[in-house]
Amino acid sequence: MQAEITKTPAAPAINARQASRWSLLKRDLYLSRHYYVLMAPFMLIFFLFTVIPVGLSLGLSFFHFNMLELPRFVGWQNYSRLFLNDDVFLIALKNTLLFAVITGPVSYIACFLFAWIINELSPKIRAIMTLVFYAPSISGNVFFIWLIIFSGDSYGYMNGFLMRLGVILEPILWLANEKYVLAIVILVQLWLSLGTSFLAFIAGLQTIDRSLVEAGTVDGIKNRWQELWYITLPSMRPQLMFGAVMQITASFAVAEISIALAGFPSVNYAAHTVVTHLMDYGTIRFEMGYASAIATVLFAMMLGTNILTQKMLRKIGE
């Protein structure tokens, strides 16, 4: 084959190579036809409801569109309005970034820290503690019980508790006060945030090779902190990557909790997030083009942070 190509003139050689590449691809495609059939149903739905909508959202963000009239091209106008003329969006952006820098890292570290401590327990207690920490995130929408705890009258548990202690004399309207509402949403978000990545960490910790730890001890590892940095964390890098993706995405997407606790819209938009802003324009005002611009900004933020974090995580244990 190699000899043949060197003999023939240049141009036909490329043609021949291209042709053979095409026929190779064709053969590959034919040989893998069963794989495409197996993947088809999932991929069809996945493209229809995930991939195409992302593209559509990107495109639509340059249009004025209200579902009734035909879309009208407006260029960057939606984006300039978003960043220059929309004060509420700036509040939403600030809150979302707050969630991203507070709940993101805190819940990520908490996921790992608790998984790491739990890993030392005997299997039965480990299973119970796993349930204790994981239960809030799967218990459906029971976060409304926090409404009772932070209820604004004296029947609210927080008010009742603080009044009995004598810290406050009158009940505080926790969820209708700009000063407290964001902090409460952050607290509840943290309560709910030990999800899939927490499980991944516990499972990952159990797969660490014990002989690595023993070898480390021989090499002079003295305490659990050194073991953590030099052996545990590097062995868990794949799970840490996965966990980071899950936690970052969740911390940017806070909306349901804010709506359930603080209302929609919240007092003076104190607990407004990018997603609630998106809901506002998408499902209430039907300004689809503008909502798409919000979605595109959110998409860029989530993706950008994820990629950046993954780059940082590669440095662990080095």
């Binding site: 993947m39 959202s57 239960a135 009742g160 499972a203 979605a295």
Partner: protein
């Protein structure tokens, strides 16, 4: 004494451990553990409180005279509403069962070729799946609504079931888990004359049962807790969660029933997780992402 404590906490097996630090870490665990679990215990307690205890001042955490009155009230209340409770339950069951079973089947079918073979496009497709883990469904909510309305699926259960079938986290976890299946097993089947579909169905699927349960525990609570979102408007298509959240919003008059509802909503996914915990852990161990 200490040796007994060590045994309970499983510390005696480990190297490099200082006992004091262990105790401090476990105290930390206990502290945050109670923060996590107290609201849930409170929910359970609340559901069994008689009305006078629900409105006691100062509020009390534990129930004194447990009663099942709240559940009886719930059944009465639902029986009187013009769309009977059974309709809501049936709707939720349709959505949850079809959505979960379909997702497990479609995600497994798509994960098998991605886990075990290289073919044109396989890398690109998997990269797209990984990328889609990095943003939440909120991003695509608006165009999704438009796609739904073009398909004419607004106000049908399909608008909730079909998108949930292609949930990319499920495909990702399933693919990672399937990579563990030994190639020799698949080759042996091939030599015996089985085609790809046969291999998938009779060799791969039985071998990934732990992953089925994991996909179930991820998908089930989401569908069980769905209120129909912005897609379902007809009263007789609405879900149990929607009906129950209406009751909760009923306020003080329905506080007892609301507490019962909260317990019902939370108990199903938790019981499901207790049953499937060890399988879920087995799957999660393979959940890592390579760089």
């Amino acid at each position: 004494m200490t040796s007994k404590v060590r045994a309970v906490f499983g510390m005696s097996r480990k190297l490099n451990r200082s006992f004091t630090v262990s105790l401090m870490l476990f105290a930390l665990l206990a502290l945050f553990g109670s923060f996590m679990v107290l609201p849930l215990i409170y929910t359970v307690n609340n559901a069994f409180k008689p009305l006078d205890e629900l409105f006691i001042f100062p509020p009390r955490f534990w129930v004194n005279n447990p009663t099942t009155e709240n559940f009886a009230d719930l059944i009465n209340l639902m029986g009187n509403s013009w769309v009977p409770l059974t309709r809501y339950i049936a709707n939720t069951l349709i959505i949850t069962l079809l959505g979960t079973a379909g997702h497990i089947l479609l995600a497994s079918a798509a994960a098998y070729p991605l886990a075990k073979y290289r073919f044109p496009g396989s890398k690109v497709l998997f990269t797209i799946v990984i990328l889609s883990l990095m943003f939440s469904p909120h991003v695509t909510a608006i165009p999704n609504y438009m796609v739904m309305s073009w398909l004419g699926w607004i106000n049908t259960h399909a608008s909730i079931i079909v998108p949930s079938l292609a949930f990319s986290l499920g495909l990702f976890l399933m693919k990672q888990f399937m990579e563990q299946i030994p190639d020799a097993l698949l080759e042996a089947a091939k030599i015996d004359g089985a085609n790809e579909y046969r291999i998938f169905w009779s060799i791969v699927m039985p071998n990934v049962k732990p992953a089925w349960l994991t996909l179930m525990i991820l998908q089930f609570p989401a569908l069980w807790g769905t209120d129909g979102g912005s897609f379902i408007y007809s009263e007789n298509l609405k879900t149990l969660h929607y009906a129950l959240s209406q009751i909760i919003q009923g306020g003080i008059a329905r506080a007892g029933v609301g507490a019962a509802v909260a317990l019902l909503l939370m108990i199903v996914p938790i019981v499901l997780f207790i049953i499937s915990q060890s399988s879920v852990m087995q799957t999660m161990a393979t959940s890592g992402m390579k760089e």
